[in-house]
Symmetry: C2
Subunit: 229 residues, 2 copies
């Protein structure tokens, strides 16, 4: 997407990256501590130790900072996804792994996601996630559409329905401190959603387990995720 080399793409003033990072970290730690809503810009300023004017030089408001932080996580998730796809050449059903990896990823960053998506922070992020997953799933589904001429339910509705259902499972899992491992949640989603997919499109779907991954964004890899492996 961007010009220049491969390892180095430096064009940004160090000060900028520095203050941005400070503000992100401040926001993140504050979210974990007291939840997004109750955080004030002043809180962020104090924690990050930056001037008021500096904040508004970078972001329009609290929400924009949150969104920006969240996009970090999304990027990370996508990198992990790609690594996984690259490392495995089984090839088939990439969207099947997707859901398991989604649970894995959010589990790894559960403190953040719980604070961010656990209903405590505005629906903004949930909306974002919804859109993201919707686009992720609409591809495979439109393919399926071609096989069945007149599906009993409009595909848009089915997709919306399934995304919401998946998200509900995810937020439930986070809100309840992840009482099951990601694999179990993945299985549950399959059990509950597969018959719906079959009813809406008429097709068999298969079930797979999947692999592992690595940690980044060190400060917020939370450690104590899930009871047993």
């Amino acid at each position: 997407m961007q010009k220049r080399g491969f390892m180095k793409e430096k064009k940004e003033d160090r000060r900028i990256s520095r203050t941005r990072k400070l503000m992100h970290e401040a926001l993140m730690s504050l979210i974990v501590e007291k939840g997004y809503e109750s955080i004030t810009v002043q809180d962020i300023l104090d924690r990050a130790d930056v001037g008021r004017s500096t904040f508004y030089l970078h972001y329009r408001d609290k929400d924009e900072l949150l969104l920006s932080s969240f996009e970090h996580l999304r990027t990370l998730f996508e990198q992990q996804q790609q690594e996984l796809v690259a490392s495995r050449r089984t090839g088939k059903d990439p969207e099947v792994y997707f859901i398991l990896e989604l649970f894995r990823h959010t589990g790894q960053h559960h403190k953040l996601y719980k604070a961010i998506a656990g209903r405590q922070s505005g629906e903004m992020i949930l909306k974002y996630l919804h859109r993201y997953l919707f686009n992720m799933l609409i591809g495979p589904n439109t393919e399926l559409m071609k096989k069945r001429k007149a599906p009993p339910v409009p595909i848009e509705i089915t997709t919306h329905y399934l995304v919401s259902a998946l998200l509900s499972l995810l937020t439930w899992w986070l809100d309840n401190n992840m009482p099951y491992p990601p694999e179990k949640m993945d299985e549950i989603f399959r059990i509950l959603a597969t018959p719906t997919i079959e009813a809406a499109f008429g097709r068999k779907t298969t079930i797979h387990p999947a692999g592992s991954q690595k940690a980044f964004y060190d400060l917020f890899v939370d450690g104590d995720c899930c009871p047993d492996k």
Copy 2:
């Protein structure tokens, strides 16, 4: 619940009912106009033409007023439900009608519900609705539980999943200006959800159409709901 007669249970100062009603109406019309979030207490004061102190004499804040208004609607819905149950002595599967009536009811008050539950007003109401529906559905489901010894998915999760799915359909419907009649939405929900229920509990569910109902809360019965009957 309360003491005294049958038709008359007046114990409340007229002034109280009057100002409360004024504030409710103010909030409702404002929600329809500009969405909940952007409404300020001052807006409500101006529209209702009540003093600032009066407002805080009745409600702690905006949210409490909204919640109170919403409970009005819930009461109305329950009345309609009971009338329906009373008028029909077919008796079986009362929860089957429930979903259709839910769509009918929200369709009738779509302006309010769209403003209130259409993602524009905080998740507060959605949460409330979720809890409400959850309790509504947990009864029938625990019955089903007894039939199957070890359901493959914990009932709590299944219920949560189904409620979320139902709500997603409902909000989608409202957000998209109710492109289908309630009957169609009811059918769609059945198509999508029934196989899940069967997978989670192992049982057949039947499909019914249902009747009509009446209007109240006149100011906000919106009229132009849904394309064709």
